[in-house]
Each structure stands twice: as structure tokens, then as C-alpha cells.
Amino acid sequence: MSQLLDWISQPWPWYVAGPLIALVMFSMLFFGKSFGLSANLRTMCSILGAGKSCEFFDFDWKTQTWNLVFAAGLVLGGLISYLYLGYEPAANISETTISELKGFGIESPGETVVPLEIFNWENLLSVQGFIFMIVGGFLVGFGTRYAGGCTSGHAISGLSDLQPASLLAVVGFFIGGLLMTYFILPHLLVM
């Protein structure tokens, strides 16, 4: 048992993670559901009463309970790996990435799961923290609903089903992601 635990406590290579993600998608389909996380954000709006002022959120959110439970499983999975599966915050990122980010003032790139100098409670009060966390989160929530899905719904489910709309959405993900990473992040990181 402890050998098994040691074994799964190592970082998992991409060729283990990718097929497992496909298996997760298949499991959801097999149980008659879909694999898409961003729908939960819409459900949360509905739970908070947004249906009263906006028909987009006017639906019986209880029919989406299965997806909220799925999201709760994600939190639990994160917690289990944090507590029991040899939590190792370091990501084995490339040397190029490390030296580049050091140049932007990130002290120990890859050694924590997020850059702690940006993602912390105190920094929320700074312009930089506000942009990264509040504006960033807003864009994710707005964009994902506008595009009708996120990475799980479009990049995994939609592409697996060879849907042109999902391919276009993924192209969009990269247009936004590349613009941000190449042209905007260099300024935001050094604020």
C-alpha cells in the first residue's frame, strides 16, 4: 500500500494525465451527463437568485446538482493530493521559463503552484493583484459563457467529438492567451 502511495505521489507524466482526462469525460457521458465545468458558474448565479432579474439564469438549478457535486469532487481531489499524495508544489517547468520569469521579478518560478507574490490576499489591494485576480477571474467567467464552454467543454469534449465550433473556440482561447502572455503579462508582472 505504501509503495502504491509512493508511486502515485510522484508527478504524473502527460501520457498518464491525458488518457485519464478522456476517461473522466467518458465516465460522465456513461452516466448520462456532460463534461463541462464552466456551467457551474452559471448554476451558481442561479442559486444566488440571478434568475429573478435575468432569464438566462432562470432555470431549476437543482437539475444541475450532479455538476456541482462533480466540482466539489475537484476541490476534494485537490485537497487529497495536497494532504496525502506527496504534495509537491514545484512544477518541473523549463529552464527558459524560469529565467524569463525571474527577469520579470518572480522570485522562484515553478516552486509554488501559483506565483505567491501576485496571488495573495494582501496583493488584492494593489492594482496588480486586482487585475490578476478580479479582472482575470471576470474575463474567465464572461468569456467562457460567451463561448459556451471552457477547456473541458470545448477543448476536450468538443474536440473529441470533432465539432468545428469547439475548434474555433480553442483557436480563440489561444488568441487571447497568446496576446496576454506575449504583450500584456510582461507589463503586468513588473507592476
Partner: protein, 137 residues
């Protein structure tokens, strides 16, 4: 109890993305800079296996546990919606380093402040719902 299965699948998904470093902000940055194959390997192999799975389901007309036909809801094609909406999502993804799945995993993984990002994403979804009639789709 009938929801327990989704909790279990979610837990497996959460552990997978945590152990494969997909929840790392740095991995997303590295991906958008094309400095490593890792993220492309994760998403690419998921899609390749996914395509095979979906083809098997379709060719054998496999049914779900309730005896219903298994389908992935077809998205009606349009340019504006996916290109503009997708790009807005991409901007946020590169900033926060987290899409809607990893946000929840990070919360369990000890990054409490990600809660702010989640709340803000809910707000973004709400604002989309309010202004969607004015947007090109």
C-alpha cells in the same frame, strides 16, 4: 447517494490535474510561450483518446447507464461567439493560470485566495447573462 459517483469522478479528475501540474500557473505560462511539450501532451493525448472513445460510442451506438443514447450536445457553428468569447476567456486563462476546473482544484490544494478568482468568474458569468442580447453571437 446517487450523486456519490460524480464526487468520485470529480475527485479523480482533481487528483489527476494536481499531480500532472496542470493546475500550476507556471505550466499555463510555459504553454502559451511554447517552452515545453507538457501541456500539449496532456490536452493532445486527452483529445486523441477522446476521439477514439467517441468514435467507439458512435459506431457501436453505446447507451448510457439509463439506456439513453450518448451524445455530446452539438454546438451550433458561428464565428463571432466562439472567436470573441474564446479570446476573452483566453485572456483570463493566461492571467489567472486557471480555467474553471483548476480553480476548484486549487482551492483544495491550499490556494485560498483563488476563491476571489472564482467569485469574480461567477460575476463575469452574471454580467454576460445580463448583456448577452447586445453581443454578436
Amino acid at each position: 447517494m446517487k450523486f456519490l459517483r460524480y464526487l468520485l469522478i470529480g475527485t479523480i479528475f482533481g487528483i489527476t490535474l494536481a499531480k500532472a501540474e496542470v493546475i500550476s500557473w507556471f505550466r499555463i505560462y510555459e504553454m502559451f510561450k511554447f517552452q515545453s511539450f507538457h501541456m500539449y501532451g496532456v490536452i493532445g493525448s486527452a483529445v486523441v483518446v477522446g476521439i477514439i472513445v467517441i468514435q467507439i460510442i458512435k459506431r457501436n451506438k453505446l447507451k448510457s447507464i439509463d439506456g439513453e443514447k450518448i451524445i455530446i450536445a452539438p454546438k451550433q457553428f458561428s464565428w463571432a461567439r466562439y472567436l470573441i468569447g474564446g479570446s476573452i476567456f483566453g485572456l483570463g486563462w493566461a492571467m489567472t493560470g486557471a480555467c474553471p476546473g483548476p480553480m476548484f482544484i486549487l482551492l483544495g490544494n491550499g490556494v485560498g485566495v483563488i476563491l476571489v478568482v472564482i467569485v469574480s468568474a461567477v460575476l463575469g458569468t452574471y454580467v454576460y447573462g445580463k448583456v448577452r442580447h447586445k453581443l454578436p453571437h
